[in-house]
């Protein structure tokens, strides 16, 4: 259903949600924007940047969290799961899309991650489409778009004085029961804005045949060439909304087994007790990072595992640009003998 939200009513609406939910929305903190819980007198920060630096996956898979507690008697117990209802307001479509991909990892039939699931079940996602797409994003290249609906309960389109609200799920509809229905004219205006936004985004690289090229060139000098200036800092993976790797460590003094974000860009990630390391240098590690996104996810769920959010491009300290890497990959020979 399409509804109209006047911009000067937005804060009132958010405050009304706060009675029943913890409401997270982008707010400025130091030099960046972050999804933070709304407090009295909050100020939203939509204009500073499209995407928060830390992707909203952190609200479901925190950078560090206890999985278990050790009991006095040498046993283990589950930590209580977070189930307080939440709304994330202003999540961008690329980040909401990423949540649906991570669901395929954390919510499987055989093993479901109870921490992830409890938070997902308790959280509604209200998206804000990108009527002026950001410079580093390339969502349309990877099969998504600036008004993609995946993962969202509702999506807003900025039409100047008003937002057009499209409710996408029943739960999303419940959040906006106070609003007036949009006129046909307003809905039409919104879809024009949406189409114009998508059309304004250049195609960053050719995805047709890309997976096969990456698969077939596993031993190509390409990987050394694209990883030469990489520092191995891991920023591109920590800030990526579809990266989910974690380490599990015991914090003995706290009496907890804890998981922390980890990254395949670190040497110790794959180092085995025998001293053997399947990915000993940044060459193999860069290959793993790109292949995971552009071939393994495709094999697993038939979708590219990159939503084109552009964070890795924006925050790499040496300016390595995944778009340039993949443009170069699309020039690789195909049908080389598979070794």
């Amino acid at each position: 259903m399409n509804l109209i939200l006047k911009k000067d009513q937005l804060n009132h609406l958010l405050n009304s949600w706060r009675q029943d939910y913890e409401v997270y929305a982008p707010q400025a903190l130091q030099n960046y924007t972050h999804f933070l819980p709304l407090q009295d007198g909050f100020e939203l920060a939509f204009d500073k940047a499209h995407n928060t630096r830390i992707p909203p996956k952190a609200l479901f898979l925190p950078t560090s969290e206890a999985l278990l507690k050790f009991t006095k008697f040498g046993g283990y117990e589950q930590v209580p799961l977070e189930t307080a209802p939440r709304i994330i307001f202003g999540i961008r479509p690329c980040d909401a899309h990423a949540m649906t991909m991570l669901d395929t990892v954390f919510e499987q039939e055989r093993y479901t991650d109870p921490h992830w699931k409890a938070r997902r079940d308790a959280t509604l996602l209200v998206g804000l489409g990108c009527h002026e797409p950001c410079q580093t994003g390339f969502c349309t290249t990877v099969g998504s778009g600036p008004f993609n609906h995946a993962g969202l309960d509702a999506i807003l389109t900025d039409l100047g004085e008003i937002f057009l609200v499209e409710t996408l799920t029943e739960k999303g509809e419940q959040l906006f029961t106070q609003l007036e229905t949009a006129t046909e004219e307003q809905s039409k205006q919104a879809s024009e804005v949406q189409q114009a936004a998508a059309a304004s985004m250049p195609i960053a690289f050719e995805t047709e045949g890309l997976k096969e090229k990456l698969d077939q060139n596993f031993d190509s000098p390409y990987w050394e060439e694209i990883s030469r200036s990489c520092l191995g800092c891991g920023v591109c993976t920590f800030l990526c909304p579809t990266c989910f790797c974690f380490d599990i460590v015991d914090e003995a003094q706290r009496g907890e087994r804890v998981r922390n974000w980890d990254t395949c860009m670190f040497r110790t990630y794959s180092l085995e007790a025998s001293g053997h390391n399947p990915r000993p240098s940044r060459v193999e590690r860069t290959r793993q990072r790109l292949s995971h996104k552009y071939t393994h996810w495709v094999d697993q769920i038939n979708q590219i595992g990159c939503t084109g959010c552009g964070r890795c491009v924006r925050y790499c300290p040496v300016g390595l640009d995944i778009r340039a890497m993949l443009r170069k990959a699309s020039q690789l020979p195909s049908e080389v003998a598979h070794v």
């Binding site: 589950q78 596993f218 015991d250 393994h296």
Partner: protein, 285 residues
């Protein structure tokens, strides 16, 4: 336990039943663990398939992946043989009978025993990776399973005779008329009556027949690397050769990403793969 969703990260409470050294240099120790709660035992054995592994947990140190070295019919305990490597395995070596311990499992797929019914089995192991093959052999020896499979040939190599595990049982296997056992050590020793040489060479010497057979290989990477082509040379097709992979692991349930190999997670989709499957995966090992 509460009716909250069972966390796949939560170990099953157990305690040490027996602990003994498996090798003369004390690098390998076997632990037999029993369940604190009989319900956990029932669930474990209902799910268990030889070739699977568990994560053994030491509070304050972490978890280590270890192959299951016992068959379900042996009793309400689970056996592991542990090579002392780093922090967790050292702590496991220090455990004594009666000590509490947590384990998660059984994890992974295990051997495709249903598909192997009616076939001859060639079981090839090296070093401490023989543990799950020992479990497999014990499983097959049970009268209710033995008739489902054809001839059994076991080839087991260790660097020295002192590193050979499960010595008593293996000595008894030599006496059985329903199986062939070939043991090997790397360099000659006095009084050694069996093969001397590396496992791939012993395989070439023994020449197991590929006719209506499957081969399963578990050993150190270098042994596996040379044994797989030796089997292909003998006429085994990639669909009839199986191996168990090892990669660093953390969660064991396909979440943490650590054991990723192409589109697979070794912990969840493996650790047992056919050579045909491996040939389709990247050489990221």
């Amino acid at each position: 336990m509460s009716n909250e969703a069972h966390s796949p990260y939560l170990p099953i409470p157990m305690h040490v039943l027996h602990a003994y050294y498996e090798s003369n240099d004390r690098s390998l120790k076997t632990l037999e663990l029993s369940f604190d709660d009989p319900q956990d035992a029932r669930e474990f054995f209902a799910a268990y398939n030889p070739g699977q592994f568990c994560l053994l947990s030491v509070i304050g140190k972490g978890e280590s992946a270890l192959g299951i070295a016992s068959a379900a019919w042996e009793g309400d305990f689970v056996r592991f043989t542990i090579q002392k490597m780093g922090s967790v395995t050292t702590a496991l070596h220090e455990l004594k009978p009666g000590d509490p311990i947590g384990i998660r499992g059984p994890l992974g797929n295990g051997f495709p025993l249903e598909d192997w019914k009616g076939k001859n089995l060639v079981i090839i192991g090296g070093g401490c990776a023989f543990s799950t093959l020992y479990a497999l052999t014990k499983h097959l020896h049970h009268p209710s399973n033995r008739g489902d499979y054809g001839k059994m040939t076991v080839i087991y190599g260790t660097r020295t005779s002192g590193l050979c595990m499960y010595k008593q049982d293996i000595a008894a296997w030599h006496q059985r008329d329903d199986m062939e056992v070939h043991q090997a050590i790397d360099v000659p020793e006095q009084d050694w009556l069996h093969h001397v040489g590396y496992v791939p060479d012993v395989v070439k010497e023994v020449k197991p027949s590929p006719v209506n057979s499957v081969a399963v290989v578990c050993g150190p990477p270098i042994m596996t690397k040379y044994t797989l082509p030796a089997l292909v040379e003998l006429g085994f097709t990639p669909e009839t050769i199986f191996t168990s992979l090892e990669k660093r692991m953390k969660c064991g349930v396909g979440k943490c990403g650590r054991c990723n190999l192409g589109p697979k997670y070794i912990c969840k989709d493996g650790p047992v793969f056919s050579l045909a499957e491996l040939n389709d995966l990247p050489a990221d090992l």
